[in-house]
């Protein structure tokens, strides 16, 4: 594919390189997987703890494994805001998940209004719209194209689960979270092979 060798393209290529490692994909996949596992196991309280521990661990992993391979860069303010937006997307995902569990508990009580009944009968589609929409919005805000695909995948999986009687939310989230995690792991392995660790600073010091 021919690329335009302009400054904008240079900047975008450098920006996209910071997503090649797949750690963001693994983080998103594990968040969805944790929700699925929590529903299937019944240990709902595990999910927020898992998410709270996951994001700092991923940042630490990125600092130890990614920076020595592709280097460190501080992008312009516009891009810095984009990084904050991706973190916000993960936070919204976690928050929406918590909200859904609370809603489920509340809506099973007898006093719930009629529209709640409709949402309850199309529960998976509503969740698919929230999480899929959050991922698509995050992909747009952060100029991170894979998030669009993940958003569509989440929505379609939950829509499919809603239409087929044999699946529930736990199974659907485990499947889609597992798939995104696997894609992330694949990208991560490819990244480690493509970008070997650069002992550059030590060479530089030796050269004086």
């Amino acid at each position: 594919m021919e690329t335009r060798p302009g400054l904008r393209e240079i900047e975008r290529k450098a920006w996209l390189r910071t997503f090649e490692h797949g750690l963001w994909d693994i983080a998103i996949g594990l968040v969805l997987l944790s929700f699925g596992a929590a529903i299937l196991s019944g240990f709902y309280w595990l999910s927020p703890i898992w998410v709270a521990a996951l994001i700092p661990s991923m940042r630490d992993l990125a600092r130890r494994l990614i920076v020595p391979r592709i280097g460190h860069v501080t992008f312009m303010k516009r891009r810095q805001r984009s990084t904050a937006r991706i973190s916000l997307v993960l936070f919204v995902l976690a928050l929406a998940g918590g909200g859904v569990f609370l809603f489920t508990a509340w809506s099973t009580r007898g006093a719930a209004p009629e529209w709640v009944g409709w949402i309850r009968s199309h529960f998976l589609i509503v969740i698919g719209l929230i999480w899929g929409g959050a991922l698509v919005a995050g992909g747009w805000a952060a100029d991170f194209p894979r998030l669009h695909a993940y958003g569509a995948l989440v929505f379609l999986t939950l829509l499919g689960s809603d239409l087929s009687a044999g699946y529930n939310l736990g199974h659907a989230l485990t499947a889609v979270g597992g798939l995104i995690t696997l894609i992330g792991v694949g990208l991560f392995v490819h990244f480690l092979k493509r970008y070997p660790r650069q002992p550059i600073e030590e060479i530089g010091e030796a050269d004086g």
Partner: protein, 106 residues
């Protein structure tokens, strides 16, 4: 700075410090970010450590880049940033080259 004959007969000043292909690549990458380290520049420009180091020295001598060394977890870490003078020089270079090529017939 060298003076070259432009296509329309005007004299166009071309900054040779930036004009050299490897240094143009380095300054273009530094222009679109706030700062970057050596590894980032190597990966994005395809230059070797020696080449990069040599060209950065020339850019630093011209006052176009600022190189700062610090330690992260007791390991040396070198960051490179385009100075405001370097940014101005790159802008001027872009304008000059655009003027030169816009002048071509057809």
């Amino acid at each position: 700075m060298a003076r070259r004959q432009g296509a329309d007969g005007d004299l166009i000043e071309i900054d040779r410090v930036i004009h050299e292909p490897a240094r143009l690549l380095i300054t273009a990458h530094l222009y679109v970010v706030e700062s970057a380290d050596y590894v980032f520049l190597m990966q994005n420009t395809g230059l070797t450590w020696g080449n990069l180091s040599s060209h950065l020295s020339k850019l630093e001598a011209a006052g176009y880049v600022e190189i700062t060394k610090d330690f992260i977890e007791r390991k040396p870490h070198t960051m490179v940033k385009l100075t405001s003078e370097g940014r101005r020089a790159f802008d001027a270079y872009r304008r000059q080259m655009k003027a030169l090529f816009d002048d071509l017939p057809g």
